[in-house]
């Protein structure tokens, strides 16, 4: 056993350390630049966290061994990106919350992910289509974020962008192969597209936070990514012999913290240990 060191954490030192971390500092004011940036970063981080969680639910249950490996890989990338985005969000907030505190101790209404990523896995076709629709937005989003006026954002985007370039290549390829596979695989992919299309549009609809972030040069205007998204999905659907649904109706709310019923169940799983044993470290 290592010899124990003397305890330097006196109450004074603990208070100073807490103050330095910002514990007890007032929350950021809604509408302030700091709050906008925090919101933008939690939107990015929560998308990765919730989708990474969903994808990780497949572990050990995929249709073929190579897909078990690929799905775990995607989930790993997304969890890694979560650590970066939420870590930065916590820093910007300055109240002593790190990425884990944001992931495991916020309630549903504080999550800012798109409704798309919290959709249940369904069959492999739905999981794949959800991934493809997300990737087709995520890739150009990260590309645009590389030009952010905030160097920290640009650096994370560059790193994540390399991973997501592979994600979109994989998901597009599989959508094509299964769309243009058997009659059954085609029907399942078309059904998945119809079930999820209504959740694809939320990413492109700006609210006031998005607009201010875009004006500050921190993040791209959401609608500016639509053309690239359309180009990608149209090309892939054509090759996959899938029909793009006519209506562009978009469910909204996730970005503002209004989630589906599924979200609470997901968080119940994800946050259980941290909530049940709040004094523990892991």
């Amino acid at each position: 056993m290592a010899p124990s060191l003397s305890d330097v954490m006196t109450p004074d030192a603990a208070a100073l350390a807490a103050a330095q971390k910002g514990e007890g500092r007032a929350p950021l004011e809604v509408g302030s630049p700091g709050h906008d940036l925090f919101t933008g970063l939690t939107r990015l981080g929560d998308n990765c966290l919730i989708l990474g969680h969903r994808v990780s639910e497949w572990c050990g249950h995929a249709p073929v061994l190579e897909e078990d490996i690929a799905l775990a890989n995607m989930a790993l990338d997304l969890i890694g990106q979560t650590q970066l985005w939420l870590g930065l969000a916590g820093e910007v907030e300055g109240r002593g919350r790190d990425a884990d505190a944001l992931a495991f101790r916020r309630d549903g209404w504080d999550f800012r992910n798109l409704l798309l990523v919290e959709r249940p896995n369904g069959d492999f076709g739905q999981t794949l289509m959800r991934q493809f629709l997300f990737d087709a937005w995520h890739a150009p989003m990260l590309k645009a974020l590389e030009g952010s006026s905030d160097d920290r954002i640009a650096a994370i985007a560059r790193k994540a962008g390399k991973e997501v370039a592979y994600h979109i290549e994989r998901s597009a390829d599989l959508v094509i192969r299964l769309g243009d596979g058997t009659e059954e695989s085609h029907a399942r992919m078309q059904a998945a597209l119809e079930a999820l299309w209504g959740y694809a549009g939320e990413a492109f609809i700006a609210d006031a936070v998005d607009t201010r972030l875009a004006e500050a040069g921190l993040m791209p205007a959401p609608e500016s990514l639509r053309a690239t998204f359309d180009e990608t999905v149209n090309a892939v659907f054509a090759e996959a012999t899938l029909t793009r649904p006519e209506s562009d109706f978009a469910h909204q709310g996730g970005k503002q913290g209004r989630h589906s019923e599924h979200m609470g169940h997901l968080l119940t799983h994800m946050q259980w240990l941290q909530r049940a044993y709040p004094d523990a470290t892991w």
Partner: protein
Amino acid sequence: MYAQMVKSEATEEDPEKLAAFQARIDAGERIEPKDWMPEGYRKTLIRQIGQHAHSEIVGQLPEGNWITRAPTLERKAILLAKVQDEAGHGLYLYCAAETLGISRDELTEQLLSGKMKYSSIFNYPTLTWADIGAVGWLVDGAAIMNQVPLQRTSFGPYARAMVRICKEESFHQRQGYDLIRKMAEGTPEQKAMAQDALNRFWYPSLMMFGPSDKDSVHSTQSMAWKIKINTNDELRQKFVDQTVPQAEFLGLTIPDENLKWNEDKGGYDFSEPDWNEFYEVLKGNGPCNADRMEARTRAWRDGAWVRDGLMAHARKQATRRVAAE
């Protein structure tokens, strides 16, 4: 040990060829897939490598059980990476088995029909987060005991797969120990979870080595062929001797009143696991056998349309290429 009770096949072949084959093995040569080999050697290896591969695949399930509940992002990433490694091990091992003339699909069908087995250990449940630590520390620890010597096994593809697997397994064991150490040094509840995990996983881990060699009918031939390097009892003793001080460091108690250092043999005396329980688990009566097989069967059945779709697309592409030429 991920392969238990692997039955060796008797071989009735040209005695001269057999003698020459044995001489190669005795000289420490590697047997490669295109080399002549006795049918018994081939069949025993298929059974052993296949069982090992199946164990990696089924072994994803008890750990996957906690991925969605991992308590920090880092722990979640570590666990995901570990389970992904296991799927990778399954893949190398299926590839090694394929060099012996059996396809991965055939092996999978044999697993799902119950004709082939996987390690008994994966029929035990992971009930708390500490179990994820115990699996890494004890289960991977026990597996490594067997797998390290298998890096020198006589069949080339198996030995080479094992080199890579061992590197990753050693890493997993350290991660598991780190996890359970954090628990053992944590709150009273965490410490209780760590002790409970050790209590439940101790004897099933000892069972992983298989019954005593005194009762094992298959060991002699497999050892002559160098597809089994050490006896079950040697490995079990080594595992106990290695693990006891690790448990002491954690402040955890191994659930065995008879555990005692024996100066004469330079190792610990310890209680045998309940071998009746072991045979019941092999027969399908472990706590999770039905759930594990159900999960694997469902994944295979529900995934059929995906595999069929991919194959159909590949055929269409091939036809289009021919038409374009």
